[in-house]
């Protein structure tokens, strides 16, 4: 499809080796995209089975043990193989150098090694499926010490994946410090880069703690170290502290890049500068810092002391405020704009709405008295999925559609994509909204069986998976079958740097490093009062 004289990054070399040994950040980004896509499909399939099992109370299609394995597989694969590396490693790799005006990331080889480590970790993880773990993705002790399944392999896989994540984070941070084009000052940096920067900070500083925790868990199983085993004088709550010290910031590793994507999409389709650039940029950083201070809100009923519960509850509400600010900023970006409802824009709007619900239901869980009732029920499941799917996955899909012309140089069928969006949006809400009610009614999570009075809500939830499933398939079909013709360098008339070059971009991005002279979201006519 490339009839321009210059080669683009996709044509630059053919065959397996030209991809597998590439140091081109765009190709590495695309490889991540494919890999996480595959894991997303596997993990999503596990969730279809889980919901199917819940169509009726009692044993349906799988046994209790298989059910436990399925939710462990779904959770750990979605978290460690899809959503944590997901947006940051795929779109981060593809976009950061393009956006800051660099020819590549600062350590191109390290970038490739990170990808290989990701593959290695994923292989170990998949290898563990020979006797898949049934511990849940949280690996809580002493159950994970006790379980007869292959916990060691799966945690080893996560450990290796963690290193991949750390190295990618280091690479991005240093890239953004050292390789910004002349004139690309911090206050002109695209907000996706700000978000990626905050994400990378979290990856570098939070991941090692879960690394040592999982290493100690392995030691616990091999040698009986006893740190987390009450039978040996250890404390299982300490494991939870260490685990959530990583896993709460990890929630922001998952959501921040999606927030960055929304901050890119909204101005383009509203033809307006992003509202409150500084507020969004700094609230990303603020979230990156405060998110280390709230992990204990996952442990309000775990036997944590009352004092610490109260402290964590206070700080949890502190982290809610920057998030709320972001939502209003995105909203106000549309005010007096010229709004085009493209597929990417639809996903972004859905993101704002669903993420709002996800965030607001977080207020329930942060309130100590209410959390005592709602902890470990379906309410938590629904809340978390509203943030992770309604937030991250919808943001991810927005990115898939938004940068599609840039990545592949062609366009997709907007009409079909919008139908897919409607199905996914409806299906998602049908799955997870009933779960809020199930939760307040007291339906515990991770339950193979349930009481008959919950049947109708469970069935509704299961029907939702069928709708969303059709939506996914239609979306994949739409994206895999581009419409004829070329996209051109800038079909959306965006002003950011990655749209200033050919689509797909040439192998080295820029012939000559550009000099940036104006803010990135310079849309609209200048009638505004200068700050």
């Amino acid at each position: 499809m490339s009839d321009t004289s210059e080669t683009n990054y996709l044509d630059n070399g053919k065959g397996f080796a030209s991809w597998f040994y590439t140091v081109d950040h765009k190709r590495i980004g695309v490889m991540y995209l494919i890999a996480i896509g595959i894991f997303f499909i596997i993990a999503a399939f596990a969730s279809f089975l889980i919901r199917w099992e819940h169509l009726t109370p009692g044993e349906g299609i799988v046994s209790a043990h298989t059910y436990n394995v399925l939710f462990t597989l779904h959770g750990s694969m979605m978290v460690f193989l899809f959503i944590v590396p997901g947006v940051a490693a795929s779109f981060g790799n593809f976009l950061i150098p393009l956006m800051i005006g660099a020819k590549d990331v600062i350590f191109p080889k390290l970038n490739l090694y990170s990808f290989w480590l990701y593959l290695l970790g994923a292989s170990i993880f998949l290898f563990a499926l020979a006797a898949p773990a049934d511990t849940g993705w949280t690996f809580y002790t002493p159950y994970s010490i006790d379980s007869g399944t292959n916990v060691i392999m799966i945690t080893l896989g996560v450990f290796v994946l963690g290193f991949s994540s750390i190295l990618t984070g280091i690479n991005f941070i240093v890239t953004m410090h050292k390789l910004r084009a002349p004139g690309m000052t911090w206050d002109r940096l695209p907000l996706f880069c700000w978000a990626a920067y905050a994400t990378s900070l979290l990856q570098v500083l939070a991941t090692p703690v879960v690394g040592i925790t999982l290493l100690l868990l392995i030691g616990e199983r091999y040698f009986g170290l006893g740190f987390f085993d009450p039978a040996k004088g250890g404390d299982p709550v300490m494991f939870q502290h260490f685990f959530w010290f990583y896993s709460h910031p990890a929630v922001y590793i998952m959501i921040l890049p999606a927030m960055g994507i929304i901050s890119e999409v909204m101005p383009v389709f509203s033809r307006k500068p992003i509202f409150g650039y500084k507020a969004i940029a700094y609230s990303s950083l603020a979230i990156a810092l405060i998110s280390f201070l709230v992990w204990g809100h996952h442990m309000f009923v775990s036997g944590q002391s009352k004092l610490v519960n109260i402290i964590f509850s206070v700080i949890t509400y502190a982290v809610a405020v920057p998030t709320a600010i972001k939502v209003f900023n995105w909203l106000w970006t549309m005010y007096k704009g010229s709004i085009e409802l493209s597929t990417a824009m639809l996903y972004s709007l859905a993101f704002i709405f669903l993420f709002t619900i996800g965030g607001l239901t977080g207020l329930f869980l942060g309130a100590l008295a209410v959390d005592v009732h709602l902890h470990d029920t379906y309410f938590v499941v629904a809340h978390m999925h509203y943030v992770m799917i309604g937030g991250t996955v919808f943001g991810f899909f927005a990115a898939l559609h938004f940068w599609y012309p840039k990545m592949w140089g062609v366009m997709f069928d907007e009409f079909k994509a919008k139908i897919a969006f409607v199905l996914i949006f409806i299906g998602f809400n049908v799955i997870f909204f009933p779960q809020f009610i199930l939760g307040t009614l007291g339906m515990p999570r991770r339950y193979f069986n349930y009481a008959p009075e919950f049947e109708s809500l469970h069935q509704l939830s299961t029907y939702g998976t069928w709708i969303i499933g059709i939506g996914f398939i239609l979306m994949m079909y739409t994206l895999l079958k581009p419409i004829p013709g070329e996209a051109g360098p800038n079909p959306y008339k965006s002003l950011s740097l990655e749209w200033s070059m050919d689509s797909p971009p040439p192998p080295l991005n820029f012939d000559k490093i550009p000099t940036i002279t104006e803010p990135v979201y310079n849309y609209g006519t200048k009638i505004e009062k200068e700050s």
């Binding site: 140091v23 081109d24 020819k103 590549d104 600062i106 350590f107 191109p108 390290l110 750390i166 984070g169 280091i170 690479n171 941070i173 240093v174 410090h177 050292k178 390789l179 910004r180 084009a181 002349p182 690309m184 000052t185 911090w186 206050d187 570098v204 500083l205 939070a206 991941t207 090692p208 703690v209 690394g211 040592i212 925790t213 290493l215 100690l216 030691g219 040698f223 009986g224 170290l225 006893g226 740190f227 040996k232 004088g233 250890g234 404390d235 300490m238 260490f242 500084k278 507020a279 700094y282 950083l285 080295l508 490093i513």
Partner: protein, 221 residues
């Protein structure tokens, strides 16, 4: 908005030293290189970030130590007394000495004194090896007395912390070995010494961790 302006100032004061963005030099072998000054400062920044990671990796062990020491003071007292202070002290001296030799090597390569670099790196690697051998004797002595990881929480922390540290010593030896090999091949000079400096940083971290582990495990009995 006052708060944003203040934040801007803070962030600018931190971030702007690295504001000067370098040009990119010619592309000879298919992909490009950044100019040496950028590469030098980037690799150092990257290594410092990695050291931050390593520190937090040990952080979990330090946290476990702090908490269980407060919870089981008797056990830690007795366990600590049973460790061999002489061997521990010898290892401390060895490791600090090896830190010195690496620092000298980093200095020497900047003055193009290749021979001195070789000697210093050799000494460092030998020191690391002696450290490992001492640890081997220490471990086997413990095993002989029927003390294993899991005997009690103190010994679990002792074995876990020194074991993970030992792993870093081995990684450090491997890194220094590769560097030494490249020095023999003449790859480094006063214009190209970043790798040695960065490898040295890693070795200093191994020393830093030990500086804390030694008193916490062996001395405060």
């Amino acid at each position: 908005m006052g708060i944003y302006d203040i934040t801007t100032k803070i962030i600018k004061s931190i971030a702007y030293p690295s504001e000067m963005v370098p040009p990119i030099t010619e592309e000879d072998d298919g992909h490009h290189h950044f100019d040496p000054e950028t590469e030098h400062s980037s690799m150092k920044l990257g290594m410092w970030l990695f050291l931050a990671t390593e520190l937090l990796l040990f952080g979990g062990l330090f946290a476990a130590y702090a908490i269980y020491r407060a919870k089981y003071p008797e056990m830690f007292m007795n366990g600590s007394k049973s460790l061999d202070v002489v061997l521990g002290t010898v290892n401390t001296v060895i490791l600090i000495f090896s830190s010195l030799t690496v620092a000298i090597a980093v200095k020497a390569i900047q003055e193009n004194r290749i021979k001195l670099v070789k000697i210093m790196l050799w000494i460092t690697i030998v020191c690391a090896a002696i450290f490992a051998v001492n640890k081997y004797f220490e471990y086997s002595y413990k095993f002989g007395k029927g003390i294993f990881p899991g005997t009690d929480i103190f010994y679990s922390i002792y074995f876990a912390a020194t074991g993970v540290h030992m792993l870093h010593v081995f990684i450090g030896m491997a890194v220094l070995g590769v560097l030494l090999n490249k020095v023999y091949k003449g790859k480094y000079s006063k214009d190209n010494f970043t790798a040695i400096e960065v490898g040295g940083l890693y070795w200093h971290l191994v020393d830093l961790i030990w500086i804390y582990l030694f008193p916490l495990l062996y001395l405060v009995g």
